[in-house]
Symmetry: C2
Subunit: 239 residues, 2 copies
């Protein structure tokens, strides 16, 4: 079960569209709107949603916040301003964790967003169970509606997702034997080209070169490419 996004008295169709796009980017597709200023449907919202509104179930429109929340068990009020109310205050990540826990217990959760300028009314905050304050730069903290929705939805989506682990075998560093062959060939060619000023310096210089090249973590294919470079520069094929 996914949370519901509730936009309360949104003014700009563009912002509704951006919110819809952000929701669907993060796999959330139930959008409810309370008293949209310019009515519904809204062409600007459609354009700005980049197709999200077409792919989602139809948006539901309500006259009051209470009606929009009838089937919801738990509501998060997004507001930058701390209010004079005793309520849990969560950041977007904590809210996402809390939402997943509640969902697992069969609770339907709603994220409430107020109108662009004024934000949520005290009445709407009062009927919510917790406050979400998204941590941003205190000197420039005004988030646009679509971006506020995005950050809440993004944190919700991250919860079930596994971070990338680069286990593609094609990306494994070359086995040591291949590097060793490369280093030996390189050393032979460098000696032939009088790269080492003295014979005494040769081990130290080679150690430094190996150290440098090992940091590149070359794949087998890249080791072959390096052999090609040596062949090209020396005019001598690899034995």
């Amino acid at each position: 079960m996914k949370p519901v996004i509730v936009l309360i008295e949104p003014q700009m169709g563009e912002n509704i569209g951006a919110a819809a796009r952000a929701m669907l980017n993060c796999g959330i597709d139930e959008l409810r709107i309370v008293n949209p200023r310019d009515g519904w449907p809204n062409e600007r919202a459609d354009a700005m949603s980049s197709g999200a509104l077409e792919k989602m179930p139809p948006v539901q429109v309500y006259n009051t916040t209470a009606e929009a929340l009838t089937d919801c068990h738990y509501a998060y009020a997004t507001t930058a301003r701390p209010r004079d109310m005793v309520k849990p205050v969560l950041d977007a990540k904590q809210a996402a964790d809390d939402c997943h826990e509640r969902t697992a217990k069969g609770q339907k959760c709603a994220y409430l967003f107020g109108p662009e300028r004024a934000g949520l009314s005290n009445e709407d905050v009062a009927l919510s169970h917790a406050i979400i304050t998204i941590p941003v730069n205190p000197d420039f903290s005004s988030l646009n509606l679509g971006q506020g929705v995005l950050l809440c939805a993004y944190e919700w989506f991250q919860k079930g997702y596994e971070p990338p682990s680069s286990v593609d075998p094609d990306t494994l560093p070359a086995p040591h034997v291949e590097l060793d062959n490369l280093y030996n060939r390189l050393e032979d060619e460098l000696r032939a080209g009088h790269f080492f000023r003295t014979q005494e310096m040769q081990p130290t210089v080679m150690r430094n070169l190996k150290n440098m090249l090992s940091r590149a973590e070359m794949t087998s294919q890249e080791v072959n490419t390096f052999h090609g470079i040596i062949t090209s520069l020396t005019g001598k094929k690899n034995k």
Copy 2:
């Protein structure tokens, strides 16, 4: 030291402005642009930035990505598409952690964003050190430029920030003695009002009521309010 945001050949001024706003929301203020389609400065970018472009140091404009990166030690390429290149692949949070670690070692880091439709060119990905893939809904994964910048900047900003802990003393639950007084008064008034059908049921019913009321975690002020409710309903002041 903060990372640099580099927008490569952005097309829409609105997106540049949204990116600037998102950056500054997250405390990042160095924006570089490579070959903006409509030149620079750009009125639409100014309007969409909600004042961010005025508060940031002047945007620097370059002809090539390489020029934009001259003083940077490490570059992250944001791209949804996996490329046929061996490079670390990070999500936005992993990149933020990596960026903070590199910054602590004196490395200047850059986040690269390609043009709106095409995304980063293979050439620009090749000169980056790592790839950032922002995890989103695979069925609707196209993020707008400003939202991509926001998610990367948001993750960067979260790193140094402490989640809210509600230690405001005004929000502490009332000490037990106050609850006990309230429960005792309530029990007295309920008995007087013949609320308990039988005397045997009284302890169980009271236990259920206490259990319910304790979940509200009332503050001292709210306990006083509850006393006021009892006074109002019974017409009898608290002794």
